[in-house]
Symmetry: C2
Subunit: 208 residues, 2 copies
DNA sequence: GTATCAATAACCTAAACGGGTTAATTTCGA
DNA sequence: TCGAAATTAACCCGTTTAGGTTATTGATAC
């Protein structure tokens, strides 16, 4: 008995599920240890008996596979989850990656591609089309449509580390009053009215 | 004269630069309109006369190409920039993508791959290895090592929209005092001591 | 079945913050 | 060279926040 890489499936279509299991068990490196047919039992089962790799449908009947991914990753942060999807370039795929998936596989893909994707994930890769990759990359590039002055940007930067007026004044070598002055201007430009709101906006829209 | 797609190069190695220019000009869809050999003149020239695509070395002599990318994107947010790099899986590549690049090309790649990558970017893709893709994906997945209670998570979520105690109390149908109570607990668990600090930590470490 | 924790609520006090107003100096572009 | 914008600084006043203390209820765990 070899030391096989264990795989669990979460897929409500029984035909697809069993053919995937067969495909996996026909290799001499992978073994399918569990098949779940809904999200709830999948999450519970995987947390109880974690495999090395999970293949998970995101179009499940009871609840979104996205939530399932979040839950599993909360308990098992290092488990590699690969999303099964019917259509490429789905917004679901993007959200699944945000939730913690390591890549995705089109259900209609060839057996070589499916096994290849699993290998890729195990080797630290993230199989995805360049379109999805572009969405992912774009999502953390700053948009930069605001017109904050350089000094205001510095103040905002310090603000986003959670500093008080006094602490910001100290690191920028200006008076607390001047910090307050800049903050007023920043609030006006960002259309906010408190420190936490400014921090939230700056970090969410990647202004800093 | 056809309506060619214009390309500008920023590359300090004159040999590489001219052979790339030849490669580009030998196609019947691209034309190389400018060649710059350092970052500073590249940034200035590109902003003055923007091409459709920029190929940019990130190992430039005068200053980091990463900064150059940031500057160009600040002025021309929609310009597609492709990074030229000597070695794959470089941390530089990752940072370049964060700064606004749309993909990258290994200098030693075949001519087909180079032209293919340009086409890919023009078609909305982001050419990159799955290893880099994994780095990118990981960078926005939450780590979630904290132990906030469900209710505390809800409060933190509202906090991250910039709400005051009173506003949070209203949307969660609890008293302001209870919001305050949860915040105290959250501060202790996150090791922070103000709203903006909590928001910064929550957003930066993707707790929400 | 009791102990621990989550969620709810209240009060007090000092510190921090937000909005309004005014003003000097510098710097940069038209 | 003149004006606009940026940076610096100060004061007042009312509101919001942070930290400390105490307490009840329900659920979960051991």
């Amino acid at each position: 008995m070899k030391n096989l890489i264990t795989v669990s499936l979460v897929e409500d279509d029984l035909d697809i599920c069993s053919s995937l299991a067969k495909l996996i068990n026909n290799t001499n490196v992978f073994t399918c240890i569990h098949q779940y047919h809904d999200c709830q039992s999948g999450v519970e089962g995987i947390v109880k008996d974690p495999p090395n790799i999970v293949l998970m449908d995101i179009g499940l009947p009871d609840r979104s596979g996205i939530e399932g991914i979040s839950e599993i990753r909360a308990k098992l942060p290092d488990l590699n989850i690969i999303v099964l999807t019917a259509h490429e370039n789905d917004d679901y795929v993007f959200n699944a990656l945000c939730a913690g998936a390591s890549g995705y596989i089109i259900k209609e893909a060839s057996t070589e591609r499916i096994l290849g994707a699993i290998h890729e994930v195990l080797n630290g890769g993230a199989p995805m089309s360049t379109q999805i990759a572009r969405m992912v990359v774009k999502s953390f590039q700053r948009k930069n449509t605001t017109t904050l002055s350089p000094r205001e940007m510095e103040v905002l930067n310090e603000l986003c580390t959670g500093k008080s007026y006094k602490m910001i004044a100290d690191v920028l070598f200006i008076s607390e009053e001047t910090v307050r002055r800049h903050l007023k201007s920043i609030y006006k430009k960002l259309h906010v009215s408190s420190k936490s709101e400014a921090v939230a906006k700056a970090l969410k829209e990647r202004l800093i």
